[in-house]
Symmetry: C2
Subunit: 405 residues, 2 copies
């Protein structure tokens, strides 16, 4: 079946298991990062990202930069906020704290709206907060990898557009893009940042994001220069890109010109030395994702998520996200039963062939574990990953002495 060597199945909330074809694309022979063949691959990947984010607005701007998911925070905080700007961070776990830190690094004033562990700030509180102060940006973690809490974006966006229409809506979609629906245009989002190694299904190393025309205008209207060099939108302005492409041509000139016209039409403003191999893998992953209607993909993630959550409930275990409406479809965070310790359970699960993750929320880290169910593990049932995960969890808990009440 798979051309990969036998290994325990990686079912943490990212990195996830990767498809054979994606991994094969990682070993693509070396190409010039400015040659026509690679530029064409990159251009197609950017176009496919528009489809994944469901944006047809030509003003929308995809960005793909070498870096980890964390870099997405810098892209937002260094380009869309200026020192002194007010930012409202909706907190559903560990990653909101870090995004807040990032904003403060670049001089923003951050207000965090925190919910109890396992839940999310409610619309009335958010409305109250938006009425108390004028916020330049609001950020929401679509799925917080530390808690498995899912935020609802559509109603949130409607609220923000109603109460504070100038506020930019920024979504941390690191653990959601590819497993949860994101209707960038329909929900009037201004920025969604993610990483390659989760539900998109491409190895780690790419920061991927999408910005609205309004976000780009906000950047252009800055009164101060961006606070970061590597993460500065300035470094991807068309003029600079065009200069470098023209100077560093290393292939067929006619093709280069066509690429440049495409570039003009599509307005991709990316510039930095990309990783051709990672971009090839991203291209393959996106091609696979878009080979089926997105609605099918999201339905499959919901269905598998329900299957896992039912198994958890059948075991008499509780999730961190107690309200079903707040539960992510690509991961599940599960409280361990009394007496079962992660440092004993996880290695035993590893021996049974599945890798789960420990807790990450610092207040309760030793008390829970996390299971990722995204990408090929969901979309390719022949792999048997999900059934193996459930059976291993049942057996592992039993061997740890747990019997349900």
């Amino acid at each position: 079946m798979s051309s990969q060597p036998s290994h325990s199945t990686l079912l943490i909330p990212g990195p996830i298991e990767f498809d054979d074809a994606v991994l094969q694309s990682m070993s693509h022979y070396s190409e010039s990062h400015v040659g026509p063949a690679f530029v064409s691959t990159f251009s197609e990947a950017l176009s496919m990202l528009r489809k994944l984010f469901q944006t047809t607005d030509p003003a929308s701007q995809p960005l793909v930069v070498s870096g980890s998911g964390t870099l997405g925070w810098d892209l937002v905080a260094a380009n869309l906020a200026e020192p002194g700007d007010e930012v409202l961070v909706l907190h559903t776990g560990y990653f909101a704290d870090s995004f807040a830190d990032c904003f403060e690094t670049y001089g923003s004033k951050v207000t965090q709206l925190k919910a109890p562990i396992g839940s999310r700030p409610q619309l009335p509180e958010i409305e109250k907060a938006l009425k108390e102060k004028k916020y330049k940006l609001l950020t929401v973690t679509h799925v917080d990898t530390s808690t498995g809490v899912l935020s609802e974006l559509k109603a949130l966006s409607e609220l923000v557009h109603r109460i504070s229409p100038e506020t930019l809506i920024i979504v941390d979609g690191v653990c959601s893009v590819g497993s949860e629906e994101i209707d960038f245009d329909g929900w009037k989002l201004d920025g969604v940042l993610t990483a390659s190694q989760k539900a998109i299904g491409c190895p780690a190393g790419l920061s991927i994001s999408m910005y609205s025309g309004r976000a780009i205008e906000t950047f252009k209207a800055r009164k101060t220069p961006p606070g970061s060099y590597f993460a500065s939108f300035k470094n991807w302005l068309p003029s600079k890109l065009m200069f470098l492409y023209l100077q560093e041509i290393s292939g067929d000139v006619l093709t280069i010109e066509i690429v440049m016209q495409n570039y003009e039409a599509k307005k991709p403003s990316y510039f930095a030395t990309p990783s051709p191999q990672l971009i090839h893998a991203l291209h393959t992953a996106l091609t696979q994702i878009l080979s089926k209607p997105l609605s099918e993909r999201f339905a499959a993630h919901r269905e598998i998520s329900q299957k896992i959550k039912k198994a958890v409930t059948d075991l008499d275990l509780k999730q961190l996200a107690s309200n079903p409406a707040d539960q992510a479809n690509g991961m599940t965070a599960i409280y361990l039963p009394e007496g079962v310790k992660a440092p004993e359970l996880l290695p035993n699960l590893f021996k049974k062939g599945v890798i789960f993750a420990g807790g990450l929320h610092k207040e309760i880290a030793p008390k829970y574990i996390r299971v990722g169910h995204m990408g090929v593990s969901v979309m390719d049932p022949k792999r048997g990953d999900i059934d193996r995960a459930i059976k291993s969890l049942e057996a592992g808990l039993s061997e740890a002495g747990y019997t349900k009440a």
Copy 2:
């Protein structure tokens, strides 16, 4: 021979051609970024980097971060300089301008010491500059990719230590690490930054750097917080790393403990979500590099460089770097003869099976081309890359109507 599909040989000053085994490592099956197997691979890669940089001082600190080479500038400018600090940038081409921009983004005051195109600032001028002002840092581009000019580090460092011993010496080694000798300890350097895709021979996507104990102390003594979030050394402090490793264990606990002890002993302060696949490829590339004495590697690069430069001279062509002592050993920048245009020559060379790069220095970009000769193209003569490069250049120029005077 090679398991790669047939393709034109990439002989630009990075990315370079990659060895089969390195590319195969890129398609490694998915692993947890915090699991013991991957942590062990990463730890070994960091140890091998110490050998490549020739540092045995335990206070030296290697860093490997997902990102492009550019990110290395942010690492230096955001962590080792504070707003208002004076920085002396030695200019040998395009990349010094960009490094200076990066420093200014983070608030440093930059003085550039520029040399005419094709040469480098001389020691007496540098001495004069160091006596005029107190500089917190001095930066030098070891090989400027835009001009092929090689800087001499040993005498430079001796000068700086004699005239201004508190000044940190920072080397942009993006186009030199792996093809030019760097004696980090012996030359008392404080920071060397590079990227994976040039002479190290690992696909693009990793920012690689080494800092002296003195540089780390300078960071710790900061009066202001670092100006970047993603590039902040703060995010790789041991305490945070240790917390996350302990919380997110996903394998055998005993092994984790051993890794933690290794970590204590080796003091690797790296933290961010790394790319396991890229780190595996880096591990393979470094293993290959260190399988022979480094002196042999550098001698091979000098020898091949001489061969290419002799062919250029035999064709009656001039290099940008007119003084042989200023010529890089991993690339050659060549002025085109009157009447030969890069946008016609380069595609013709592509058809002959070799990819060269156009000019990059904005003042003279259309007037020259660049050839990279690093890594496997130098170390594996069976590939025939260098002979094909020389023959193709001769034929391409001839077909463009050039005959030597």
